[in-house]
Assembly symmetry: C2
Homo-oligomer: 342 residues x 2
């Protein structure tokens, strides 16, 4: 007769087989102490009764949920979506689940999400911290000291020793700028992001280092700070171009700003990359769809997700805190040369 399916417990199996629940539990867990015969009986009966283990009960008992919390500013940004894909991929391989939250770039909300995830008893948390410049370092220090495994990635809190996976923004920017220099460009402008964020600062530093190592001057008038992707207006580009001595290449810390500039340049009838070269950063999906295709710096997003997940799970499985000395993994970004530079 059909018991309500989906509600079978080990006790039901035990009852039908005149066994004890603990034996069933052991059989199901492939504990070698149970006899082959019993194990087979249990497995057969489990299938017959459509038994489905209650992971939550097990989690309560074992004190671990096999759930990883993930906090990102917004799921629907290509960068984060890709990182999350990498996380889910690796987590799934090891039987972990992921619970995803959005901070909307609010540090306050981010802290709330951390608390929420802890209530759900996640085994660890992966975070790319909100970019509102209000990161509470003390909060995270306490969190980590409190014993909760935390793995940061991408934008990480400054002044804190914690496991992190980042890319070498400085090198990415350096390589990108050097590529432009090697291609013959000499007056390379830089659209940079908010300098209170280390990722944008590093890109700026890589840019200037490349110029210096090539013996080129760093000219303030060729450096423009952009607040956010979205307020990038063609004006910024036009004002750069109308200088008495305009740039012959533009290295932007954001693909979006680069695309806006590119469009403005085309409108002015400039030939790209002959008159003006463009190099973006992030390797957004659209970079290879637009015309001309935009050169950019790939951030290894999938890899970042995978490695972050792996590192966190390694900590969870060994129950070992990562070496305090070198907790940071630095991925190497990759310059992707496309039509907008040559």
């Amino acid at each position: 007769m059909a018991r309500k399916p989906g509600k079978t417990t080990i006790h039901d199996i035990a009852f039908e087989l005149r066994l004890n629940a603990s034996t069933v539990s052991r059989a199901l867990a492939n504990n070698p102490v149970v006899s082959q015969k019993t194990r087979n009986l249990v497995l057969a009966k489990a299938k017959e009764l459509h038994y489905r283990p209650n992971h939550i009960a097990a989690a309560l008992r074992r004190g671990r949920s096999d759930i990883l919390g993930v906090i990102v500013p917004a799921i629907d940004r290509a960068f984060f979506a890709s990182v999350i894909r990498g996380i889910e991929e690796k987590a799934g391989e090891q039987g972990y689940h992921i619970m995803v939250c959005q901070s909307y770039d609010s540090s306050l909300r981010e802290r709330t999400m951390v608390e929420t995830l802890r209530r759900v008893q996640v085994d660890g948390i992966l975070i790319s911290v909100a970019k509102d410049g209000k990161t509470d370092t003390a909060f995270y220090r306490k969190l980590i000291d409190g014993g909760l495994p935390v793995q940061f990635f991408d934008n990480i809190p400054e002044g804190i020793e914690a496991p992190a996976v980042v890319i070498d923004d400085e090198k990415g920017a350096f390589d990108a700028t050097t590529h432009l220099i090697n291609s013959g460009y000499r007056r390379i402008a830089h659209l940079c992001g908010p300098q209170h964020l280390h990722i944008y600062r590093d890109r700026y530093l890589g840019y200037t280092r490349a110029l210096k190592e090539a013996g080129l001057p760093v000219e303030d008038e060729l450096i423009v700070e952009i607040d956010s992707h979205f307020d990038t207006s063609p004006e910024i580009f036009n004002s750069l171009w109308k200088r008495p001595n305009p740039p012959d290449a533009i290295f932007s810390a954001s693909d979006y700003s680069a695309a806006v500039g590119l469009k403005a340049a085309l409108k002015l009838g400039l030939r790209i990359p002959e008159d003006l070269a463009f190099m973006g950063f992030s390797n957004e999906p659209f970079t290879e769809i637009i015309t001309p295709q935009l050169s950019s710096v790939d951030q290894q997003t999938l890899e970042m997700g995978r490695r972050s997940a792996e590192r966190l799970m390694a900590v969870l499985n060994n129950n070992s805190t990562p070496a305090k000395t070198e907790p940071k993994l630095v991925l190497l970004p990759k310059v992707i040369v496309r039509e907008s530079s040559s």
Copy 2:
């Protein structure tokens, strides 16, 4: 003295206050029967001891986890990322968490993920089914009959009565095509997707209906089936264009294919939209970044996520199965006219 933080239970609070755990539980749950005085004491002590409710224990006891499972082909596709954002947003508002899985467009894997999520005791599941054409309708029928609340969205299983949120692909295609017709185009080609998927079939149907209602002929030679976004080659476009009587507009069921065609057209020196107009489908983020900007049909992704989550949670909260009669919510897509059509 500092007990290990993060491990405080209601018993600890009860013990310190010489109360019973149940009273503490009630106080924490804002149960009106507890006296104001006791409640305050409990709240204060809870804060003092850094009490954090164990959601998993509560879930086990209450028989509901407040977790929603989400299964999509791939998190990092713009469409799904956006839907998930909408889901997380609404879920969070009502205290639900989301657990995200990827099917990688494999129906087999999808079924595995469903089982996995059930083990975790999710209260319900939101699914956009895999597009490998191997959807097991019977599986989902049983699932739903078994009592698990399931909410489909986007690509839904055919021949099954189940709650779903979709967009009106037929109307989207009809409106898009009609827009082209009203703009003066007469020979409108259609790049269509795999016809075994209802979403692409509907787009095809909307396209033909628009032609018919305008008194235009449906010409087979203007209709080309594309297997997937990624194998779209410029050849497909070129062969269309080299016809004795080439199209003057192209309506593509995919923005990606449209972008490829657009690029090929530019290379041939065609003026867009004067010589040839383009209309895509999906309103991918890149559509407003490319030059010329690509007209497209917006699929209300955020809204789809929000409404899907809301509907599922409504079922969970009322514990009421949705009306079997009209479980399907049809969102209206919106034609976004950009530079590629006028």
